[in-house]
Amino acid sequence: MSRAVAPLVIFAVGNPSRGDDALGPRLAEQLAALPPTPAWELVEDFQLQVEHSLDLCDRQLALFIDAGSGTPAPFSFYPLNPRAAFGPSSHALAPEAVLAVFAQTQQAAPPPAYVLCVRGEDFSLGAPLSPAAETHLAAAWAQLETLLAQPTPAAWAALATAAPDPR
């Protein structure tokens, strides 16, 4: 018997020991504290990797939550398209690259996917969230509540802004 898969998967990414990189884990904590629901599944990790493409299987919608540096404040919410990324080490994939891995290894289009990018200011080791990030966190949580109230591609498309220029 196959496992029932929640239609929405939420990836929350970041290192809680690195200042505002903890924005993703902090939002994950708040999500985990909500009453259990079959509507979505939370996946928390330091960073995205190829195996996260498997978490996209059989989903109808995906959300990637991450801190941003030099990105719009308090947050940006935008759609994603698969885009292969290629870096100097194997340590992390961009959300677009996870979609690309899914597309190629599953030979199928990934589910509609969005990014909730919360602006961070200070990524120092051992630092707490910066005051600005605390403010951004509150705003992002309000956005997340709105998104979870209507977890459909159409509703999210209406809330999204254009994706930033990848350059």
Binding site: R18, A84, V101, L125
Partner: protein, 492 residues
């Protein structure tokens, strides 16, 4: 000691090319090249800053928190830090020998880590370069390209990585931030259901790992001129070697003594208790880099640097204790012609031999009922004040050294991570590539990729432990002698 191409004579007259994965966020590296007006290379340096501050961060923490906390050092191999710290803290609680169950569970966790990390590296980082060639179009030189041409290879890579993660999850208790190892032992055994779940897939995993070795070997055989010479430099090699029923010298990622060979394969030291690592290794600080440069004390700074990781381990050991990987090791040694292989691209081949060994070891451990024994997980002993834990992490030898006071708080922490051990070796590799491919030529994206190919062979921890959206994974800047940016290349 200043190495050739390490420091230019008149840097103010040269233009600077920086290959910068990400700027500002701590936890990354960059390459700078100083070229003159004729594009002749005068200086090449790899800068890595990622571990700055972590040793201070650990000080003042209770020792029992450390194995969990150090996982935040690296998002890609947290298990290596978790286990190296746990080994050090075993000594703090006076335990020199774990129960058989605890040691086997830690090995299972560690070999799962080696499997997933090596799979990720080869299938999703290096195989694009190796399969398509370094000058191929960037759009093709990535997983999409691999998947199009070798669809099953990419899929198996994802599944190998996933399997390794599952081994970690079941032994550490969680997918991330696991707490499986504790000072003196482990806090959980495998359940029978977990063991059976892993056993269902292990034979595929072994078979796919073997295919990967053959793919790597085939690449070398196809173009030996390139694979045997690209970025090549000679150096000493260092690793742990373990002991088995045949005596010392076996490949062992979890435990053993330190062994080093010179560039001709002659033993420099052997059987060194890693708790005494400071008797054989020293670390040099250079003004231009945040990362230290370790070297073998007896040889000195100039010639004492070494490489670690798969290429060093597979050639440092006398044998591999699993049959398929041992067969592949012998094949590799034969290919090298009885002399040590120093080509950086041979890291990929040896990495796959190690992945096969990890898969075989996992299979053996899963068939050992000791891993199901939840009764005998922790030992106790007499409290000590100092502990050293050393492990062979995917990228090479990893040292964790701590002192703890009577209040159980860490007062001293010294880490030598794999990337630090390879610091000079990576610098030498990119200098060789710069001399061979860039010298006197117009810098192009394809040529700069050659530098990255050399770096990727070592797969350094450049961007681990932190990241943020909005950062370019790679940016290349050409800056003139006046500091003005005259040209830039960006990698998405």
């Amino acid at each position: 000691m200043t190495f050739n191409l390490e420091t230019a004579e008149h840097p103010e007259k040269l233009r600077r090319v920086a290959i910068d994965p990400v700027s500002r966020v701590e936890g990354h590296g960059k390459v700078t090249l100083l070229l003159d007006e004729h594009n002749k290379v005068h200086q090449v340096r790899l800068h890595i800053v990622e571990f700055r501050g972590f040793e201070k961060f650990i000080q003042g923490r209770p020792y029992w928190e450390v194995p969990v906390m150090v996982q935040r050092l690296c998002g890609i191999c947290p298990v290596s830090h978790h286990l190296a710290a746990s080994k050090a803290m075993d000594q703090i609680v006076g335990v020199r020998h774990l129960t058989p169950t605890a040691e086997k569970l830690r090995r299972l966790m560690h070999y799962g880590q080696m499997l997933q990390s090596h799979a990720l590296h080869f299938f999703h980082l290096c195989s694009p370069d190796l399969l398509f060639g370094f000058d191929s179009d960037v759009a093709k030189r990535n997983i999409v390209g691999v998947a199009e041409k070798h669809p099953e290879t990419a899929k198996k890579g994802v599944l190998l990585r996933k399997f390794g993660q599952e081994v970690i999850r079941m032994t550490a208790g969680k997918r991330v931030h696991g707490t499986g190892a504790i000072p003196g032992g482990m806090n959980k055994a495998l359940s029978r259901a977990e063991r059976d779940e892993l056993l269902k897939d292990i034979y595929h995993i072994v078979a796919w790992s073997r295919e990967a070795v053959h793919l790597a070997r085939e690449l070398h055989a196809t173009n030996p001129g390139l694979y045997n010479s690209f970025g090549v430099f000679r150096s000493n090699m260092m690793s742990l070697v373990g002991i088995d029923e045949q005596g010392p010298g076996t490949l062992d990622f979890y435990h053993g003594s330190l062994r080093a060979r010179d560039d001709n394969g002659k033993l420099l030291f052997d059987g060194v208790d890693y708790c005494n690592y400071q008797q054989v290794i020293e670390e040099e600080v250079k003004s231009w880099s945040y990362m230290k440069f370790p070297y073998i004390k007896a040889i000195g700074k100039a010639q004492g640097w070494y490489k670690v990781g798969p290429l060093a381990r597979v050639q440092n050991c006398d044998r591999i204790p699993t049959p398929l990987a041992e067969m592949e090791r012998r094949d590799f040694v034969d290919y090298a012609g009885g002399t040590p292989m120093h080509a950086p691209l041979a890291y990929h081949w040896t990495r796959m031999i190690e992945m096969l060994h990890a898969a075989e070891t996992i299979k053996d451990l899963l068939h050992d009922d000791d891993v199901l024994n939840g009764e005998q997980l922790v030992e106790q002993g007499e409290r000590a004040w100092e502990g050293v834990g050393v492990i062979e992490a995917p990228r090479g030898t990893l040292f964790h050294h701590y002192q703890v006071n009577e209040d159980d708080l860490v007062t001293m922490c010294n880490l030598i991570v794999s990337t630090t051990n390879n610091n000079q070796a990576m610098n030498e590799a990119i200098r060789h590539v710069a001399r061979r491919y860039l010298h006197g030529r117009e810098v192009t994206e394809g040529l700069l990729n050659h530098i990255e190919v050399a770096i990727r062979a070592f797969d350094p921890c450049l961007s681990c432990a932190t990241h943020a959206l909005g950062k370019m994974p790679l940016e290349v800047e050409l800056v003139d002698a006046g500091g003005e940016r005259i040209h830039a290349l960006a990698r998405q």
